[in-house]
Assembly symmetry: C2
Homo-oligomer: 255 residues x 2
DNA sequence: TAGACTTCGTGTACACCATACACAGTTTTA
DNA sequence: TAAAACTGTGTATGGTGTACACGAAGTCTA
């Protein structure tokens, strides 16, 4: 390789080696007193307790009774640690028991499962994702959703598109739920009162007359009335997507 | 008020005052040499040039020729500054000219406009959003989308749900595009080659036989083949949503 | 007009943060 | 036995947001 040419670019394969624990490890020196899993697990613990902002290399090291710099023998950077935490926090999907048999039921269950995970471990949504999914657990989830559509006449192209669409929807909806939960925690205003508060803000803003369509929504008191549960809201949007899938399936069956 | 009761909670109304420039300003002391708009604009400039990570209070102050701490006379915290930047970076929607007349065309245009903005100013997606939209420009966008459905028999409840759904979709899709752009920038691997690279990673992973449905997708070479443009991908998912909206409209017309 | 009151910008200081680097100790291979 | 490779550690660098105290400057009230 010509010198100076390879301007030190980042290689996604390194991350994959970390995720799959396939990093070649020389046999020479002393074996580490820790394992990659222990380091990542410590990070996950802290994130579960204090959120992602609480995860610092110092705290991870402290929890393991080790100096900060020794962590870098296991993980190239904090960014990689976060990617590894995301993978570890994604559970192996185990839905054999009550797993429905029709594609619609399965995709619904999949979306719900994803939302449940992301709302519980909301710090996962705070991790800046810099690559497409590459870890084994994440692949397993993809496989699950794709498998849900196995009995349909959809093309593989279709399935992939739908997978992305539904995952995106679940992430998005989770993001909103989480942001609402945090607002509640931070303000001390209850979940129910927040609709009231937002309603008043909108009233103040629409009083200028600049937002006619928004004004009509506000006047309909959607915000002020006690609203549907987050679960219902989620299913509402999901049904839109699944109707679209159904239509596509019908089309593929015909053609 | 009983002492010790109000345990110093965060008040969203303060943020709204900032966003609407309605913060009461005493008339006593000297007038500031800067304005809130100048501070926020400086932040936006830096974000445009270096991304959100480049925005620090020190750099903003430096750009304005002022000490760091003086910024806190205009903005309570960096978090608020970011919220203000989000609002300022959202342009006043001006789509009078080629604005379609049917709801479907309008919602499509809306979604495209949103995607364009978020991909251009990708740092907006990096801002941790902690409240529902409260700024004038954000309200204007909401109004636009709601107004797009004015001629339909949808209830105000429906419209709000659809607004959230479509905005969420646009944000989500933008997030993916941006993350791809960043991967390209960081690895030096071209946009086209990335499919190739990811394909090989998937091949390696599916070789274990653990992911049957994923294997079928990989074997179909969806990733390896040069793929649809991001624009086409976007419209693909959007059509799903809009079909759902059409179905709901038909239903409301009947009932 | 004098003094009280506010608000300004500034400098200093603190408690963090990620990580580059050199080093000494330990383990394995040639 | 010596070389090589890998380990954990301490130190150091250059960042981060913001609390606090200060003097200067402007505006209101008596």
């Amino acid at each position: 390789m010509p010198p100076g040419e390879a301007s030190e670019k980042w290689d996604p394969a390194h991350l994959m080696d970390l995720l799959w624990r396939t990093r070649p490890r020389g046999t020479r020196g002393p074996r580490g007193s820790l394992s990659l899993d222990e380091v990542v697990a410590a990070g996950v613990e802290i994130a579960d307790e204090e959120g992602l902002a609480g995860v610092s290399m110092r705290k991870v090291a402290g929890r393991l009774g080790v100096t900060v710099m020794s962590l870098y023998r296991y993980v190239p950077s904090k960014e990689d640690l976060l990617d590894l935490m995301f993978e570890m926090a994604t559970p192996e999907p185990t839905m054999a028991a009550d797993w429905p048999t029709d594609w619609r039921g399965r995709l619904t269950a999949y979306a719900h499962e994803m939302r449940k995970l992301l709302v519980e471990r909301s710090w996962m949504l705070d991790i800046p994702i810099s690559t497409p999914p590459m870890g084994p657990h994440n692949f397993a989830w993809m496989d699950l959703a794709l498998g849900a559509m196995a009995d349909t006449p959809l093309t593989e192209d279709d399935k992939l598109g739908i997978l992305i669409l539904i995952s995106g929807y679940a992430m998005n909806e989770s993001r909103q739920i989480v942001s609402m939960n945090r607002a509640v925690a931070r303000t001390g205003v209850s979940y129910e009162e927040w609709g009231e508060v937002y309603h008043r803000m909108l009233e103040r803003a629409t009083a200028t007359g600049r937002f006619p369509a928004l004004t009509r929504v506000v006047e309909s008191e959607v915000f002020a009335r006690s609203h549907a549960t987050a679960e219902e809201d989620f299913d509402y949007g999901l049904s839109f997507l699944l109707d679209g899938v159904a239509a596509l399936i019908a089309q593929r069956e015909k053609g």
